[in-house]
Every structure is written in structure tokens, then in C-alpha cells.
Symmetry: C2
Subunit: 252 residues, 2 copies
């Protein structure tokens, strides 16, 4: 039995606002044997956003003067910029045509997570879920109603990082997964204290899930088997635990 096994959940149909996403996932997961206790379902946020109606038609957006000015300076669509600004509590940087935003949730990412690709229509934007931890809790609860098991649920997005090229998939919401594993103060196999060992399990699981799906595929959902030691009966505090207060952030 391998230590960790990841399978993309095949055949998930296009999701629209109001669809029963949990039912679609449960059906498609049957093709790979369904869920077991201790499994983790990792899912790219876009399909959650679509099911929750967190999309905007560009035709309905009236850009503010600030959005028009920013869009002009950065060669972007002012309506896209308007929606980015609506999702943003602090614009951290605007450069190289990219807006780095602190979202109302507390995430730091490009364009406040507002995305024009893969949204299912040319003139539509996909936003981040309003409360991704709540989305994860709801999906877990509904999966529990539909099937005999309640896998932990992890909602992910791909974020750029300071200091390093490329993006990594990270956790923006979770339920039933302990987002952090705290070894600080514990000792290693030699009895020495483990310094600063505080592991972002949820982010690492998000990164692992991304390895099994192609960016142009229809496989937003991945079943991860082998992390039962981090899966909890209670939904827990979610991915908000991963947000570092600026007062404690030495890396920015």
C-alpha cells in the first residue's frame, strides 16, 4: 500500500450556478471507487465559484474612474480591473501589467483571484468564493448526505510567490483538514528540539493535487488518499489559519 495516492476524478461536467456540485463529484468519484474515511477531496476553486454563481458578466460592469486609469496604465480591460478592485481591500502593487492585491479574505494574489480563463464564456469573469472555508464545509456536509463518508475538502487556487518563479497551488479553504501541523517544541529522532517546524499541510496537499491535473483539462477535483492523520471529524478552523498577520511576517 503506497503512502500517498492521488487520483483525478474523471468526467466532471461543466458546472453552472445552482448545480449540485457534490452530487456530480460523488457520481464521478464512483468511477475511481468513491471515497473512504480519511480521504481528502482537493478541488480547484473555479468550479466552486461557478456553482455558487461567483461570476460576473463583463457586459454588466461599469468601471470606476480609478479602474479606467489603472487599466489604461497597465493595458488591461477596465471592466476586469473594476471587478478586481471590488474584490480587493488593499492594492499592494501594480506593475508589469499585474495587480497584486490583498483580497477581502486576506489572500495576497494577482488580480484578487479574478480570472478570465476557463470561466465557460468569453465575456465572463470568475471570482474567488466569498467564504472558501464555508464553501468547503458545505461541500463536505453535502457529500456526507449523498454518500456514506465525509471526505475532508480542500479548495485551492494557484498563487505566485515572493522570491520564486512560477506558481504553486495553495489552500484557500478547507473543512476537516488540519491546515497546519505544529511540531514546534517537539523533538526529533535524536531528541533534539525541532526548530520552526510548522508545516502547511493544506498548502502542500494543494500543491500535490495540482500535479495530477493538466491546466487545460476538465479535472478540477482530485482524491488524495493517505493523509488520514490530518483529517478531522470536526470541520475545524479552515484555511484562514494559514493567513500570516503582517506583524509576524518576516518574509514580505
Amino acid at each position: 500500500m503506497p503512502d500517498l495516492i492521488l487520483d483525478a476524478i474523471p468526467g466532471l461536467p461543466e458546472i453552472a450556478a445552482g448545480d449540485d456540485l457534490a452530487a456530480r463529484i460523488a457520481e464521478c468519484a464512483e468511477k475511481i471507487g468513491g471515497f473512504q474515511e480519511g480521504d481528502l477531496l482537493a478541488i480547484a476553486h473555479k468550479v466552486i465559484s461557478k456553482a455558487e454563481g461567483r461570476t460576473r458578466d463583463l457586459a454588466d460592469v461599469r468601471p470606476s474612474p480609478r479602474a479606467v486609469a489603472l487599466a489604461s496604465a497597465h493595458d488591461k480591460d477596465p471592466r476586469h480591473v473594476e471587478v478586481v478592485l471590488e474584490e480587493t481591500s488593499e492594492l499592494i502593487r501594480a506593475d508589469h501589467g499585474v495587480l497584486i492585491c490583498l483580497t477581502h479574505h486576506g489572500f495576497v494574489c494577482a488580480n484578487a483571484g479574478v480570472d478570465a480563463s476557463n470561466s465557460g464564456a468569453d465575456d465572463q469573469l470568475t471570482l474567488l468564493p466569498k467564504d472558501p472555508d464555508a464553501s468547503a464545509r458545505n461541500l463536505r456536509s453535502r457529500l456526507g448526505e449523498l454518500t456514506s463518508v465525509r471526505p475532508a475538502v480542500l479548495i485551492t487556487d494557484s498563487f505566485g510567490r515572493a522570491w520564486r518563479n512560477g506558481q504553486c497551488e495553495i489552500a484557500i479553504g478547507c473543512a476537516g483538514l488540519a491546515a497546519l501541523d505544529d511540531w514546534r517544541g517537539r523533538t526529533d529522532s535524536r531528541g533534539q528540539e525541532l526548530h520552526a517546524t510548522w508545516i502547511a499541510i493544506a498548502d502542500q496537499a494543494a500543491a500535490a493535487a495540482d500535479l495530477v491535473r493538466s491546466k487545460d483539462s476538465r479535472e478540477p477535483a482530485v482524491r488524495i488518499r493517505g493523509l488520514a492523520q490530518h483529517v478531522t471529524v470536526d470541520d475545524g478552523p479552515g484555511a484562514l489559519e494559514l493567513l500570516r498577520p503582517s506583524s509576524e511576517d518576516l518574509f514580505r
Copy 2:
């Protein structure tokens, strides 16, 4: 056949300077069936550092006045601080008892990666490998001599991040693994251009590997099966590709 399978390589003995690490890994990997073409071997850097003699005995370290002053201000061992400074090209921040350093390699991390835990002796520090990409190439080459296959090799360390709590395992060296997967300019399943989709495969694989080993265990090496599309015959440019030039870094 699952999409991605990770197995910790069991029973790796304590490694000392000059040991044939590849031979020990090849032996232990036999217990889980050995390597196949397309496999990736992910290994925590400490065991590489030990094999390469990249350790320092605290008793041999004479702290400079700068190290003594920093150590005093941050409640640290001045000899440890001295070694950190020797590994550092720029001290980015010193706060909360932590030194955030730009290493000579170009990595940004706490204490320049100099670690006192798990080093196998109370009075010894473990440094990062001098050239982790070269270490990965050497290990890959030696595995090829010893076995019939040459798995890709990934050397990892756990780094803190800006904006987010907890650490993630990241890539500090690799050989035979394309560290970045560039989808920029390509289109998604709807024919729309994928914006800013430039995936740090090596960092995501490092994170995935970390999920299967406990921090207090003797399992620094993990076999990852299912990433053959990112494994290359040539060793390639390594993990240096992941270092973002500060002029292009909008996140710091």
C-alpha cells in the same frame, strides 16, 4: 493505476561524510520495488549535506564581532550566527529571533538554511549543499551506474513564505526534472488564453513528498511515480530556474 503514487523509501541508515548515498538509497528502494524510468527521487537536503560533509562543528567556529552582536540581540548562539553569516550574501531581516537571509545560492530562507536539528550530533550544524543542482546531478548519475534506471532527482528544504503561516517543502536542486511548466500563451479547453500559468512543478513535487514523511522519522527519501511527463533525459538547468530576479518580483 493511480495518477500519482508516493512512497517513502524505508530504512535509510544514518549517513556520514563520504558515504555512498546513492548506493544506500538504491538498496533501500529495493524494499519498495526499486526505481522505474520516469520516477522522481525526492530527498531532503540534510542527508545530502551530511554525505558531502557540509556540516560544521560548533567547537571549531570563532564568531566574528558582527555575529556576537547579532546573537546577543536575538538570543542565539554566536557560533551558529557566525555560520549563518558565512552562508549569507545579504541579511534581509533580523527579527523575532529569526534571521532571514539571501544565501550565496540565491535562496531566501531563515538562518540561511543552517540547521541545528537532526544533524546527528549535539554540537554540529548542517548547512545547505554548496551546489544543490550539482548534488542532484551527481546522485542521479551514480544511481544510473548502480541500477538500470536513472530516476530524476529533487533535493528539498522546508522554507517559510511571505504572507502565509507555516512552511512548505520546496526545491533547492534538481536533475532530470523540468522545474517549471510554462503554459503562458497556450489556450485552455475553451480555446481561451491561459494567463500567467507558469507552474512550479519542482516546488509542488517537493511539497507532495513532504506529506509522506514525518519530521521526526528517518525517511528523507521519497519515490514519486506519475510525473514522467516532467522527467527529462538531460539533467537540465536545475532548480536555479526557480529563483526570481528581484527586478521581476512583485510579491516581496
